[in-house]
Amino acid sequence: MRTRPAQNTAATPHWRRARAVQRVAFVALGLSTGLVAVTSLVVVGIILARGAGGLSWEFLTAMPAKGMRAGGIFPAIVGTLELVGLTIAFALPMGVASAIYLTEYAADTWVTRLVRLAIVNLSGVPSVVYGLFGLGLFVIFCRFGTSLLAGALTLAIMTLPVIITASEEALRSVPMSFREVSHSLGASRWQTVRHTVLPLAVPGIMTGTILGISRAAGETAPILFTVAAFYLPRLPQSVFDQAMVLPYHLYVISTQIPNIPQTQRYGTALVLVLLVLALNLSAVVLRARFRRRRQW
């Protein structure tokens, strides 16, 4: 008696077809997900299998030797870290300031809408175009030459849209009621932003920044014309110096130099992947910790 209505529905051809469609959909969705996971695992797996043998203390801390066929990649690691640090120094203040202006100050007019549109478009520009832009503006016009400064500025412009978008999102997620209270206590707009809104948005801003930077750290095109040195037997001396950088170094030893041992190439790739992975991981950890703490 109790199960009869269910049996009746299950028996209709319409219901049977719906169930079949559902099963197919599940399989298709599952396969797509699996494919994505497998691809990334295979990529990391191959790099790990072929590069792990090349990793050693010497590989990480020594200068390249024998036309980069032996020795280490120390200058490329240092160059990458310096480039990333400089990029953050330029992009973070500017990105956060823009986001604060857009969310907390700017009225919704056609000008601000245009600015937002420009920011969205900026994130769609191919990275090689940023490279050429950096070459034109920073290297040639500003006379910075091929240098850490020019490269960092180029990468900063490339990461700005990510940072602005993430920061805007983080600022908007702070409940309106906190702003109201702050204003009602007589705080000015800036005091409200500085003491109420910004501290609560910091974790979100940092997560977005790290993700943006980790993408920039692996890019080759924007640094190709602006900072990268083919081979530099010393560390960069100032921001106006060229530098070896991991992505470009990998490109060079993979395509420009014959007879390089595989461990050199895959070792370099592994270090680059680990660096980006570490950045992404720190973003994930940050977000998780923030989520646990937040309770409004």
Binding site: A107, S177, F178, E180, V181, S182, H183, S184, L185, G186, A187, S188, Q191, H195, T196, L200, R294, Q295, W296
Partner: protein
């Protein structure tokens, strides 16, 4: 105008010909009222009648709403609150607000109370502890919380949170406290305690409280204004308004025939 002669002292707040529009919607119509020092004034009326809007005029919180347009005058101690010579910050320091939902910052108890005082630079680092203690005393939280000043304010009960919000306000040393349905998120016991606190605070502060609970208005207020569809239908001493309403709409509302 009996309200003026009753007290004999000049009113703290005077409202003249106040009109407010949200876009095309006429939310407040020709409001007239006076608010006496160290008295509790309640604003009652059905939802959407303009009580909160009127309350938010007193500290110009409606300025944050782009579509809002105001005409008429509100005088604070005889001075127009929109006088360009009176900075908004000064107005909000004197006229503070408690919101419907307790909304402490996700900071420690101490930092919450110190927030406004810091914004107005009322004390150096050493004086801040004193301000916090005095403010928590004023709302009856000091004895319970004095050992938990560093704990997050979000761990407190709703009643404690609302008291804390009042302490945060008191720390700024305002003259007028605006309360927008301060008890509507609380249970009856907590409501009773906060009402008691409101009566106690009357000794030092002028209080305007919005409520949709008529019994609450009757319990805690000295004056009551009945708002209906943006109009101040009736305003007068609470006892008179509840026992002997002059307007048929007031009578209909307080006897529960609509609302």
């Amino acid at each position: 105008m009996s309200a003026v002669s009753d007290a004999g002292t000049p009113p703290v707040l005077e409202v003249h010909d106040l009109n407010l529009w949200y876009g095309d919607f006429h939310a407040l119509k020709q409001i007239h009222m006076v608010i006496q020092a160290c008295q509790v004034t309640a604003l009652i009326g059905p939802s959407g009648c303009g009580k909160s809007t009127l309350l938010r005029c007193f500290n110009r919180m409606n300025d944050l709403i782009e579509s809002a347009r105001v005409s008429g005058r509100i005088l604070l101690d005889g001075r127009d609150i929109r006088d360009p010579l009176v900075p908004l910050v000064t107005l909000r320091k004197r006229v503070g607000m408690v919101f419907q939902r307790p909304n402490p910052f996700p900071l420690s108890v101490f930092e919450n109370v110190a927030f406004g005082a810091r914004v107005h630079a009322l004390a150096a680092r050493t004086g801040m502890a004193e301000i916090v203690e005095r403010s928590l005393h004023a709302v009856g939280l000091w004895d319970t919380l004095k050992d938990r000043l560093r704990h997050s304010a979000l761990g407190l009960s709703l009643e404690q949170q609302q008291r804390l919000c009042i302490a945060r306000l008191v720390a700024v040393q305002p003259d007028v406290l605006l309360m927008d349905e301060p008890c509507s998120a609380l249970d009856p016991i907590a409501t009773g305690k906060v009402e008691e606190l409101i009566r106690a605070l009357k000794a030092r502060y002028t209080i305007v409280v919005v409520t949709h609970n008529m019994q609450q208005a009757a319990r805690i207020s000295d004056y009551t204004g009945f708002l209906f569809l943006g109009e101040m239908v009736e305003f007068g001493p609470t006892g008179a308004l509840f026992t002997n309403p002059r307007d048929p709409r007031t009578e209909a509302y307080i006897t529960g025939r609509f609302g």
